[in-house]
């Protein structure tokens, strides 16, 4: 009996235009500059639009780069954008490793890959420290105690063994994370879009989960305050 190696993820499509729209609303000059560069390139040429976004991002100061992050991940690292994770309070090593994976193409995401490519080690260290220091997301109000109980029964100690509630380690904090992002992440692991670290344990875990189970766990973690 043999196990396929962790699956590689699908190629990303053209750079998403939705980020451009949101940043125009907020009037972030730096972000608009990046995305104007993207929008002027033929949208079907995935590499060309990525190259343009990466080139523009690379020349920015760290503060301006943070502005670009905030446009999607929220001003205090607490995301109000569907499908985009909160980063506040994530362990230093976790954030750094994800950025490294975007840089080395270990993980592909149409919104993130152009920003990951030009990152220097210094950028990555600063991002890691910055997000780790932000107050973590508060627990969401619990509008579905039934789902919370179902999620808690599913969790039953299996997740917190690695997803430590101490703020340490390399594994991401799950408490207070957006429910829709949690489900997206599990779907990405299940569908081979994302492989995660090490032995591919997350794809294995996600593979055995139903959609309902993913939603219940997502809801359970969203309403936790954690550490």
């Amino acid at each position: 009996m043999s196990l396929a190696p962790p699956r590689r993820y699908a190629r990303a499509g053209p750079f998403s235009i939705k980020v451009f729209e949101r940043m125009k609303m907020r009037g972030f000059v730096a972000g608009v500059a990046v995305l104007v560069a993207v929008a002027t390139v033929a949208p079907t040429a995935a590499n060309a639009s990525e190259d343009a976004a990466a080139a523009a991002f690379e020349t920015m100061s760290f503060q301006d780069k943070l502005t670009v992050c905030a446009a999607c991940h929220g001003a205090k690292g607490i995301s109000e954008m569907p499908g985009t994770p909160s980063l506040a309070g994530q362990p230093v090593n976790f954030t750094e490793y994800q950025l490294i994976f975007f840089r080395y193409d270990q993980r592909r995401n149409e919104a993130m890959t152009p920003y990951g490519r030009p990152l220097t080690d210094e950028d990555i260290q600063k991002f890691g420290a910055y997000f780790a220091a932000l107050p973590p997301p508060p627990a969401a109000p619990d509008n579905d105690p039934t789902a919370t109980k179902a999620g808690k029964d599913l969790e039953n100690g299996h997740c917190e063994v690695c997803h430590l509630r101490t703020g340490k380690g390399d594994t991401p904090r799950l408490d207070g994370q957006r429910e829709d992002y949690f489900v997206k992440a599990m779907q990405d692991y299940k569908g081979g879009v994302r492989s995660g670290r090490g032995l591919g344990v997350m794809p294995e875990i996600a593979d055995g989960m139903s959609d309902a189970e993913m939603r219940e766990l997502a809801h359970y973690f969203a309403v936790q305050t954690g550490h």
């Binding site: 962790p6 080395y104 270990q106 670290r197």
Partner: protein
């Protein structure tokens, strides 16, 4: 089926099974204290092929509860900090430590190309770095391949770069002519992939045997202490030209370093012993494959002469080959080399240098050094002494040595995947070193 449920199997199934085989159990050598970790059943293909992320906790007990592997640094230590660390590494009189290359992400096993390029792999960064030196001696580090899972094995032989990911060995011919265009991993040539996809201890090292155009590679036992499946716990000799593999040695737990002695053509390797059996037991080992197909005793006999508490009942130590040196427990010995240069004083000729990356499963840190072993080519008269120490200062880890390789000038290079640095140890003569 929820995967979580399969992780937490009932405790003691494997012990019960073994007891049936052994008949009435009697007390053996001292057993470890009561278990406190997750109740994983390690003697099953479910554990080997679908391991939980904390598979290394299997066997955790009261005495050693709370010890965890050291997290790898995602980002290289800065050059300025590296230069400070270099002053803290202690070496014998006449030797000097310097930074050969900084910012080499998670530098692991090293190999020289034909044209002066040094290649090295990485841990989960999944990249190959190439370090070139220009006419003025300036070094440039660049990423030339990416997308690996855990590419700890790198070798260069017959004009070809070989890289071992856990379950595949890849090859690129004449890479130095096209460093900027080695291509995507998905298009790369695979010369060997006949590995079962075990999880624990699946990372590989490649030990070239240029005289035979072959590579020795480890297949680690997929647990800390269990009877390995018959296709693991061994060293294979692989011929990339044909894809043929031979079974060179068995009865081995995990190997992440070795060298072929060119004087004899025989394989030497370092072996990492079990965790959770105590701070000072069992010892890691330096092994010599004097007879082809030797069995080194794991899990039945530890340290060459100590029957293991449970498995020792199955086979006596006299059935197995003892180590050349017991290095001490939890040193985590990795890469090694035979010194063949002329920069070091003549008493260093043919000595073994061995990198010990250092402990995680011990209350006070040990290893975190490079040791020197003086031994005859037939394995007789071994003597081990420290060579470069100070990579840990008490509980603080400055760096973790992984591999050693000789440089063209006769100095030695030491890769370090914690600080992401390649250190250089040179002999400059006692008159030229500042008093320590």
């Amino acid at each position: 089926m929820k995967r979580g449920g399969t992780c937490l199997a009932i405790a003691g199934v494997s012990t019960v099974a073994l007891a049936i085989v052994l008949g009435a159990a009697t007390a053996q050598a001292a057993s470890p204290p009561p278990a406190t970790g997750p109740a994983y059943d390690v003697q099953t293909s479910n554990f080997w092929l679908h391991p939980p992320d904390d598979w290394w906790r299997a066997g955790e007990n009261e005495a050693q509860k709370g010890l965890v592997p050291i997290p790898g640094q995602p980002i290289p230590t800065s050059l300025a900090d590296d230069e400070k660390i270099a002053t803290q590494i202690k070496v014998p009189p006449g030797f000097k430590v310097s930074v050969w290359a900084s910012g080499v992400p998670q530098a692991r096993e090293m190999a020289w190309g034909d044209k002066g390029t040094l290649f090295t792999g990485s841990d989960v960064s999944g990249i190959i770095s190439a370090i070139t030196t220009d006419a003025n001696g300036k070094r440039t580090v660049k990423t030339v391949l990416k997308g690996f899972m855990h590419d700890t094995g790198v070798a260069f032989m017959d004009h070809t770069l070989y890289v071992a990911d856990p379950w595949k060995i890849y090859a690129w011919e004449n890479p130095e002519d096209r460093l900027d265009s080695l291509g995507d991993l998905k298009d790369a040539k695979v010369v060997y992939a006949d590995f079962t996809h075990y999880g624990p201890h699946n990372w590989k090292v490649l030990i070239p045997d240029p005289a035979d155009h072959a590579l020795f590679v480890n297949v680690g036992t997929p647990c800390s202490l269990c009877i390995p499946p018959p296709d693991a716990g061994q060293m294979r000799k692989i011929y990339p030209a044909t894809g043929i593999a031979e079974l060179a040695a068995t009865g081995i737990r995990q190997v992440v370093g070795g060298a072929v002695d060119p004087r004899t053509g025989k394989l030497w390797f370092s072996e990492n012993g079990s965790d959770w059996l105590g701070d000072d037991f069992p010892s890691d080992k330096l092994e010599f494959v004097d007879k082809w197909g030797s069995n080194f005793g794991f899990p039945y006999c530890l340290e060459g002469d100590k029957p293991e508490a449970i498995y020792g009942k199955l086979h006596p130590c006299s059935d197995f080959v003892p180590p050349i040196v017991n290095l001490g427990a939890h040193k985590a010995p990795l890469g090694m080399m035979f010194y063949q240069g002329h920069q070091f004083p003549s008493e260093y000729a043919w000595n073994i240098f061995l990198a010990e990356t250092g402990s995680w499963n011990r209350h006070t840190k040990t290893g975190y050094d490079v040791v020197r072993v003086m031994v005859d080519a037939d394995g007789k008269n071994p003597k081990e002494v420290p060579f470069a120490t100070g990579f840990n200062q008490g509980d603080t880890v400055l760096g973790r040595p992984v591999d050693v390789i000789q440089a063209p000038d006769g100095s030695i290079l030491v890769s370090d995947d914690q600080s992401s640095t390649i250190w250089q140890i040179s002999y400059v003569g006692e008159a030229n070193t500042a008093a320590k």
